[in-house]
Symmetry: D2
Subunit: 456 residues, 4 copies
């Protein structure tokens, strides 16, 4: 998600939005969209696919204007179809706005039901449309975007970072009071930028000013930059999984460099779960930084024992049933000479279902590894995320039903060590009270309907 605003009305921002979106492609590969304001009207283009598939020179050149927003989507709720693609533009003429959103509402059903009682209709099944309805209702009541956001914040429960582009060319950035999902604010020579991850600001040659604060609205418009702290919570609930896996390591989130966290996770793992071994092997690409940390503390050298096919990520056809293992092997391949006869510390960011890890361990053994000691940079994930990370149901999470010993045996490792919750918190360096650890503890910062259902 990104918003770009230039004080210079002649400046064209669509290519900036394009580049910023592309740097955040890892946050969503399903659909991409850009809305811009050309001084007269809201223009929009969105489609299913990756950023370079959805946009070319021609489509970008039609997205005129000095201000715009963009979005890449992966679905946590709602089907994968064009109606759910963002930005979501509503209204035409002078009363419209376009909205892009990252997060997950926990009271979506309740909000939607209430609106449907009032006679509102919905064309998609995405959170975004519910937010657009409430924002629009409050706008008509208050005639002020800031006042409308105040109500929106009081009604929405869950994780949300928003950018809104109005039909008068104002750009608003909004972050939920718990600051669950990231939202960065920066500037380069010509433009202000808000983006889910600070990497987008770097890519535009700019520099990070600060995070949008939890509960804050930033308004970019004719009067320059204006900020409004609408809600102030005693504690935040920053998602720990952004640090562990989701965000790019070159991003800074909540004042903390993701890369540094991952280094410290590796160091901490080495302290919590030391082992005698010949080599540290990270599962590429996310675990390389943790490997650096593990090596540093343990003195065991890191090697690149697993190669990733760098073209994976594009959809590809699954192999025949009889070659299930090959499936992982198409993505990852062991380097025999680095593994043969060696005792390996295998580092990965997290274990979800356990299937991939079992395949990797087996692959290392076949390549001649003498021992495989698995070390995981995230404590056992026992509960599904309700706040914006796409995870399987609780039943499918291997750590929700098995003990660490059982998991170790299931994946065929010689030993298995998970980072402790305390170790994780220490690695991140934020206060425990300011983190969302819902998927580890089952305790979420906001009430979540589904958890109730699941337990009773």
């Amino acid at each position: 998600m990104v918003g770009v605003y230039s004080p210079n009305r002649e400046y064209q921002v669509s290519k900036h939005i394009y580049n910023a979106l592309f740097s955040q492609q890892h946050r969503g590969q399903e659909s991409a969209g850009i809305a811009s304001f050309d001084g007269e009207e809201l223009l929009i283009h969105k489609d299913m696919g990756l950023v370079p598939q959805v946009f070319d020179d021609n489509t970008l050149s039609k997205l005129l204007g000095y201000v715009g927003i963009g979005h890449v989507r992966y679905s946590t709720t709602g089907e994968s179809n064009i109606l759910n693609a963002q930005p979501f533009k509503i209204g035409t003429g002078k009363h419209g706005f376009a909205l892009a959103y990252n997060g997950n509402l926990t009271n979506y059903d309740e909000l939607r039901n209430r609106l449907e009682q009032r006679g509102h209709i919905f064309v998609s099944d995405s959170d975004t449309e519910v937010i657009a309805h409430i924002l629009n209702l409050e706008l008509r009541r208050t005639n002020s975007f800031v006042e409308a956001f105040r109500v929106v914040m009081s009604e929405l429960e869950g994780a949300y970072s928003l950018v809104v582009l109005t039909s008068r060319g104002d750009l608003f950035a909004v972050r939920d009071p718990y600051g669950i999902r990231p939202l960065s604010f920066g500037r380069s020579d010509n433009v202000y930028v808000v983006a889910s991850e600070s990497i987008a600001i770097d890519v535009l040659g700019g520099s990070l000013i600060r995070d949008v604060k939890p509960g804050e609205v930033i308004h970019l418009g004719d009067s320059g930059v204006q900020t409004y702290q609408l809600v102030e919570k005693r504690n935040y609930a920053h998602c720990m999984f952004e640090y562990v896996y989701f965000a790019r390591p070159d991003s800074m989130i909540n004042g903390v460099y993701v890369y540094d966290v991952r280094i410290k996770i590796g160091e901490q793992l080495a302290k919590e779960h030391p082992v005698e071994a010949d080599n540290v092997v990270p599962v590429p690409d996310t675990s390389r930084a943790a490997a650096v940390g593990y090596s540093k503390v343990s003195g065991i050298p890191t090697i690149e024992g697993l190669m990733k096919n760098r073209y994976v990520g594009r959809t590809f056809i699954m192999p025949t049933q009889r070659e299930r293992e090959a499936s992982t092997r198409i993505k990852l391949n062991p380097i025999r000479s680095a593994l043969e006869g060696k005792r390996i510390v295998l580092l990965d960011d997290s274990i979800v279902r356990g299937t991939t890890m079992r395949n990797i361990v087996s692959m290392l053994r076949k390549a001649g590894a003498k021992e495989v000691h698995v070390r995981i940079g995230c404590p056992p994930i026992k509960f599904p995320c309700k706040l914006g990370i796409d995870m399987p149901t609780r039943q499918e999470l291997i750590a929700s039903t098995l003990t660490v010993e059982e998991i170790c045996s299931k994946i065929g490792a010689d030993s298995l060590g998970y980072l402790s919750i305390d170790g994780l918190i220490k690695s991140i360096g934020l206060k425990r009270e300011d983190l969302c650890l819902g998927c580890l503890t089952g305790v979420y910062p906001v009430p979540t309907q589904e958890t109730l259902e699941e337990y009773f």
Copy 2:
């Protein structure tokens, strides 16, 4: 390039070819194609694009049969268009064959002229069509593929690895007498596999038997595996650049693991060009193994100081002119916290034009690096490759006109160390006489028309 043959006529090989091609996608992103033989006729499908873009379940299911060949293309000669895509199928009915080829002929013009004198016509401007003409002419004369290959080998000059699928279901694998380009031979439970790189055999769950020998033809058909050593040279000319950059590190070429070479290159670099520094930073993805070697010898720890956008590789739109530097930054981004105040050894596989390296050095400095010492795992490239690697003309090669000191100053580094030719040979571990070092020395294993033109 790949060929798959099953002795079991009921076996379907198109998905194997697909997976094998996908594992070799790095060898060509321009077009992809598969030809198969279903017991009656040659079937073919090819198009511009990446393997997963060209094929889906539907197209694969139509490529019936127990034997087939596949190809991914990047162009060294010939325009980028569908007429140049491979496999190249000629003839219809019982007299046709399909051909896929990797390499570069140095006597293409001469061969084509001779054929055109005889009245032959050409629909493409690729080497492949010339080879097909000669193969076809000799086939009609000799009525034997093996005898025809004997003539083909005597006429073609340059680098070539071939797979040929005949309209009777025979599969032939052919490698030039110098063994310039790689060609591996292996088998899995159900199929024989020939492939440019051994990784393709791994991906199919198989194991490498050996390389196809320089000057050898391997025939897979009703009578099983038959091999013919048609030409025997005293020395070979294996391309050193496959080890340095082109091949995947998890491939074994000419009996040597690419990964091991790269580790040794790093070790050797550390010996030849030691420097006091805080961290080794590899340029991802190719230089990571060299970084491991450099760290091991120097004791300087490796960190991941540069992040690569894992979606790059797909075509994307270039940014506006004013943000030239951002262009590199879309692909690579520095991790400030890993670099700030640090003395960095920056490792890359090679320098071609020098532009990218200048951008990276500047990027590291802006991220706070105190010193940047560049170490390059390949000796200065002073001459264009005539034998299958796509390189700029001699004038554009920075090392063809500037000294190491001048290059160091041009890229803005504190020091610059290239691996020596002897160091490279030692790292590869093959005899100097068995390597092609043409791009380093200007001495090619075969006569090359263009070099003459360039010097006189």
Copy 3:
């Protein structure tokens, strides 16, 4: 627009809808869509393009179910984009419905403003969305589709024929109280069909039962066919232009065969504007029936003096500026031998801007026609249609500013005869009070905001 319902729940109707839509392709070439109900949920597929471009065997096979609706769109209001494509599906799960609509609302702005005051938001700029909002609001209030339609009919002003598919599998057909746009009801062996034109029923091998009556709702569901006459007007306002130009001649509308009307128009024209001539030449395809009538009364034989390129209708590139005349000639070409030295009666259905007619007359003269007498089967169109036919603004209508004599001179004809309004009414055979003649007289059956603006 079409709706198909089978009492047999195993029956699949998507191919019927496809064929029925294709027979009505002339009513809209911009987008096409089908929604079906498979016993559990509403399925939908729609896209920009012609029916055979939007659907193939694969998409049709996914539109399961025994009941469904379809739509082809050309835009009278609203931009041409996918958001405006129909059917328009709202809601998900059990409370949704899908709606397809043909017509034009004259109080759209007022209705939309009122809904926006209430906080409703709009994602498209089409009438359809406004209707969906009101229908949904009333549904929630009344819990009955029929009661909801009663209110909808009292609120909507203008022309509308609707088909609605509910999430319980009920199909409703609704026609505005004036019966401005056509809507037919029929059945074949296996299914009930409602369709804009009776040709769609013919194509399914069925037979017309009757028109849906103005102000009537027909409900097809578990209890069979139920009809509700919700509103009864003293007079109707059937669009005369359906007979003159828009509908297919093989359709029957309001009990009258379009073909018969066109024959009579030709006869009437011959009576009102006789002329001595050698041949009658119809402008293909619409004027052939009128030519039959003109020949019959006048005794002047009809020839095919103008050939139409039967591939026109697909978008094609306009020729260079210097060959403006060729533009008409790409669509139409004269047959010299049929025209040379002849006095021609040129028959066309109507004149809108006059440009095409000028080109045709000039084309006939160049082909050697001695005299060209233009006869037009529709009285002068002086006012834009507000009720569903796409026409230019009043200023562009040649007959709104010029007299018949002036038009005759402008198009370069030897004489020009328009059918009289009385002659038209006689040809149609319905009462004058039951026809909408708004574009001829400026008197519309319903108040129209724009006419006010235009006159004061």
Copy 4:
């Protein structure tokens, strides 16, 4: 097929070629292509699809130059794939040419075998490639296109009209010595045009000069227009089916207006097969002119009793099996009021398999026709065409095995009258010796291998 040449080197002809091709779209809907010469090199673009699908403003703007050729293809020999699409460009650089071709060679197998004996290879299975090989061989021998065409004409047997664009910008038009397929030559203000049908010249605002003569070569180049009568036969063999069905009625072929022939066919039919009836009903679109003639002689008025869906021609999905009859009804629909209780003369151009005619007769009866008298404007087709018209095998031709009476009964008509061969010749107005009547008599102007096989 079309060629356009402008003496003015600044003039751009690609849009002319586009428009000319589009006017001849009825001659081939499978693929379309254009080659042009921009003063330096041959440019080409071709693809599967209709003219407006293959080309847009962008592709046309890249086809620079003052001279070019174009082609639309339907396949008589060779599979439907991109390799068979035309123009066929061979060679690169200065020695290439592009070739477009309409016809069918009867000695294709012999010519191809001979070339393959010489070692030539073929990438397609089309006549065009064989012609290109021979042309190229002779060019190298004679160094003159005209001399090369002389040999080509002596070697090719069958029907062929050719346009050739050389890599020096010369345009050649060639027609076989029997003049089997049409080829017209004309000019407009700025360009010379050769085209399969004269309509293409009309569409460009030009006028027909004359046909390219059988056995003639016309050369358009720097020295203006030069013509060479290379072969002169005593008699020609103009295809009668171009007049009966294939060509557009607004084209003039061999000095005869197609439209006039069709009128006379109708007149002749009325004389040969008079009948008492109420109305003449033509099967649209081809039979309308014949209906005019039939009416004139018989005094029975023509009505439009069958409507054609003007969108048919695009691929569309076939209806379910149970509605076989509807298949014809999707294309054609009867107008009940014109048919009910009437005795109908049903006019069609020809009967091939008889299936469609049976459906139409049944359709008319269901619509209430009292009697249906079928009159066919072409004598019984008993033999397949070997010379360029796509026809079924002999076994499928209904008239090859059944008598007229049997056919009449099979199609369910009250009477059936075919035009006599003499009547057809009279209608065309050329000498019997100058017409190819092979599909009627089995006697072809050139030896045809297949006929021999079929009889012995």
